[in-house]
């Protein structure tokens, strides 16, 4: 019996492991590396964009519990490029493994963020526009929108993947940093491109702070300034036909980021469902690395000056 269980486990986790390994090995030698100072948020966005010419490669996992179905592991990769100091563009690809079911590719997303003001203000707005091409089996729960509830995810992958969604998602990222604290609020509006589908609404809010506000003179892995801790809360707000909190799900998630001097950033988050419509636990982690000068490197390939 045990001999059958082990290969099954390996088979289920193999695609996501390969997925992550490929992404990093492709880019590991491509560009110079810079120390990243990443926020700990996984769902919420602050107003800081990618540095111009830099590419950030990120891998994230979400383990979710599922009542009335099988637990799942959603995973996605993000390729985030700083086009200018006021425009960041990003491609996502995602997949998921539902335990005792299957592993499938669930879609792709293209996201753009535009800084609206040149200088820093008390509240800094950034416009976020994303096009999603996903299927119904998408379980990364990067956004919890409209009337999304836990029971939506209980069906088998074979059933869920038949549903195809082409959605336009818009967010206004409002973020403020004061005395080391960052507070971010993201109102979200999503429209399925089918005319019959209503606008859906959601929110994400977060607060975070580094464990120390001054840098130490030495390079160190465990200096408190390398850790940023915080909390985020996110959930649905219904849709245009039934706006409000009924039949919606909400999560509260402590988050922490560890910015390593070796240029890696690790993030952890444990999201707890706040009502009966929510998954009880969404355990997330992410790994990212920033590659500076990526744009220049690609430009040289096409005749730019070395």
């Amino acid at each position: 019996m045990a001999a059958r269980v082990v290969p099954e486990r390996i088979r289920k986790t193999f695609p996501s492991t390969i997925f992550a390994s490929l992404i990093f090995s492709l880019l590991l030698c491509a560009s110079s590396l810079v120390f990243a100072q990443e926020s700990p948020y996984i769902v919420t966005y602050d107003h800081y964009l990618e540095e111009p010419g830099s590419l950030e490669v990120e891998y994230f996992s979400t383990f979710g519990t599922q009542r009335g179905g099988n637990d799942f592991h959603g995973f996605w990769a993000e390729f985030e490029y700083g086009v200018t100091a006021w425009w960041t563009t990003e491609l996502y690809v995602s997949g998921q493994t539902t335990f005792n079911d299957s592993t499938i590719f669930t879609g792709d997303r293209w996201e753009n963020r535009f800084r609206l003001l040149q200088r820093e203000h008390i509240v800094n707005p950034v416009l976020y526009i994303e096009f999603e091409n996903t299927n119904g089996a998408d379980k990364i729960l990067k956004e919890v929108e409209g009337h999304d509830v836990e029971s939506d995810y209980a069906e088998s992958n074979a059933v869920l993947r038949k549903e195809h969604d082409h959605e336009l998602e818009m967010k206004l990222l409002l973020s403020s940093t004061f005395k080391g604290w960052n507070v971010a609020l993201n109102p979200i509006a999503t429209k399925n491109l089918l005319p019959s589908e209503p606008w859906e609404f959601a929110y994400a809010i977060g607060a975070s702070r580094p464990l120390a506000l001054k840098a130490s003179p030495n390079r160190c892995n465990f200096c408190p300034e390398n850790f940023i801790a915080g909390v985020e809360m996110y959930g649905g707000l219904g849709d245009a036909q039934s706006f409000g909190l009924h039949d919606t799900s909400h999560y509260l998630a402590p988050v922490v980021a560890w910015n390593l001097p070796s240029d890696w950033t690790l993030r952890f988050s444990s999201g707890f469902g706040l009502n009966d419509n929510s998954h009880r636990l969404l355990l997330r982690w992410g790994l990212s690395r920033e590659f500076s000068g990526f744009g220049e490197m690609v430009g040289r390939l096409f005749g730019g000056r070395p």
Binding site: Y48, R119, N133, L213, A215, P261
Partner: protein
């Protein structure tokens, strides 16, 4: 169960992937070529306006005092932060690169600590320098302290300064 447009389904993945790759490629190549062209054109309209940003700091911001002035730990910590966040564009010795101007120039070295802090906080977004308010305020002052120490170093050593970054023990 939501439905999709029947005519859209067969080509959607290919079309989206192609569009994404094309847009990303154009933006990457575009920014890289722009940077190269700026270099070829003798650069320095861009750099002049980077230096001009110093003068755009409001008077109240320019007059702010550096709370870490003369703190040797702040110089070392600022050097570390400079290497981590700034050297990619401004060079390891702050002498400038194709992406960012020299910080050893008079315009920077004569600037008040408050003006340097203001530029660091607000960036020069239209010219490609991002905002650095994501670094806590004391860390930004540490960088300012380091930048100011470059002038003293170059005066006393009559040579290009090095960032006083300590190695990992």
């Amino acid at each position: 169960m939501k439905r999709t447009f029947a005519w859209f389904r067969p080509l959607r993945r290919i079309a989206l992937a192609t569009a994404g790759v094309v847009v990303l490629g154009i933006s990457i190549i575009g920014t890289a070529r722009t940077a190269a062209q700026q270099e070829e054109n003798g650069v320095d309209n861009n750099r002049k306006s980077m230096y001009a940003a110093m003068t755009e700091a409001p008077e109240k911001a320019r007059e702010r005092k550096n709370p870490l002035q003369g703190d040797t730990h702040a110089v070392a910590a600022g050097g570390k932060l400079f290497e981590q966040h700034c050297s990619d564009c401004h060079g390891r010795k702050a002498g400038g690169t194709r992406k960012g101007p020299s910080l050893l120039r008079e315009e920077v070295q004569q600037a008040t600590p408050g003006a340097l802090f203001w530029v660091l906080t607000n960036g020069v977004v239209r010219r490609g320098m991002p905002v650095w308010s994501k670094l806590p305020e004391p860390e930004r002052w540490q960088i300012v302290t380091f930048l100011q120490s470059l002038k003293l170093q170059s005066q006393s050593m009559n040579a290009e300064p090095r960032a006083p970054v300590q190695q990992i023990p």
